[in-house]
């Protein structure tokens, strides 16, 4: 009985549990990463669209009410 054997046996015995945890981590990472990337992309698109509509405006005067 060696430590390596114990490790391999344990990994194999609990493989379904480890696979489920691994899959969960991969899926949740993908969802979170995707949401962050899409969020950044949408924000960038809106800023670009606003810039285009404003054109070369440098100064804006507000009525103050």
């Amino acid at each position: 009985m060696k430590k390596s054997r114990l490790t391999i046996r344990s990994l194999w015995y609990y493989r379904k549990l480890y696979l489920a945890v691994f899959t969960g981590v991969v899926l949740s990472t993908a969802v979170l990463s995707g949401a962050l990337i899409i969020g950044d992309s949408v924000r960038h698109s809106l800023i670009k669209l606003t810039d285009m509509r404003l054109g070369a405006t440098r100064i804006a005067i507000s009525r103050g009410d």
Binding site: K2, R9, W12, Y13
Partner: protein
């Protein structure tokens, strides 16, 4: 003398009121070489706590634990773990065999920390003899799930003895067994104590099992009283 407790007290302080919850009150006892001792008492009286202190799994608030003429409280953590592995065998109420290992692999787990090949070889031979002795020779490649409850507990006994410990501590070893298996295991523990020359300390509710031991103590309200 393989084991001696000197003026052991154990208490917990209530965090708010600072009141002391006394579990063990100035307990002294000794376990003779190859002797057998039973500790009986009502649930919650501190029997398991006392056994855990004797097995160095817990520390007393006051007092000394002397094992093999050494003060174990003075040892560092690694030294104590090594000493515990070689000197003490544990049997618990539940077998705690690892489901991913076969019976023989489970039995040889206490040998895992030993690095010398010769020691491992001796332990393997000893494990083979013990398995034959307790009637598990034909089941050594079975997983715990393929064994009966009595067989699992016998495997736990073999695991406790595989390193040839001088002290075996059993915490309610028959607690999870039916009457027939409990009687058989009690007989086995008694015989192994005699054959292997190990000191045996059993915590039990069973007076039938306790009656087989040389000495019986009763633990009640934190005090230990010899009744046999």
């Amino acid at each position: 003398m393989p084991a001696e407790l000197q003026h052991i007290s154990k208490y917990y302080e209530q965090p708010e009121s600072k009141a002391r919850n006394l579990i063990l009150d100035d307990i002294s006892m000794s376990v003779p070489e190859a002797g057998s001792v039973a500790i009986v008492g009502p649930s919650g009286s501190g029997k398991s706590t006392l056994l855990h202190i004797l097995g160095t799994l817990d520390v007393p608030t006051v007092g000394k634990v002397i094992l093999d003429n050494r003060d174990v409280m003075a040892m560092n953590e690694a030294g104590l773990a090594n000493f515990r592995n070689r000197f003490i065998g544990f049997i618990f109420q539940l077998h705690y065999l690892l489901p991913q290992l076969t019976l023989i692999e489970n039995v040889l787990l206490p040998v895992l920390p030993q690095k010398e090949k010769s020691a491992r070889k001796v332990a393997m031979e000893h494990a083979g003899n013990l398995n034959e002795r307790v009637g598990l020779k034909d089941h050594i490649h079975h997983r715990p799930a393929q064994l009966s409850v009595g067989e699992r507990q016998r495997a736990a006994v073999v695991r406790a003895l595989v390193n040839k410990p001088r002290l075996v501590l059993a915490d309610e070893p028959t607690g999870s067994l039916d009457t027939e298996n409990a009687v058989k295991l009690g007989q086995l523990l008694y015989e192994m104590n005699r054959e292997q020359n190990t000191a045996l300390v059993i915590v039990t509710h069973s007076m039938e099992l306790a009656g087989r031991m040389d000495t019986i103590y009763r633990l009640s309200s934190g005090k230990l009283q010899m009744i046999k």
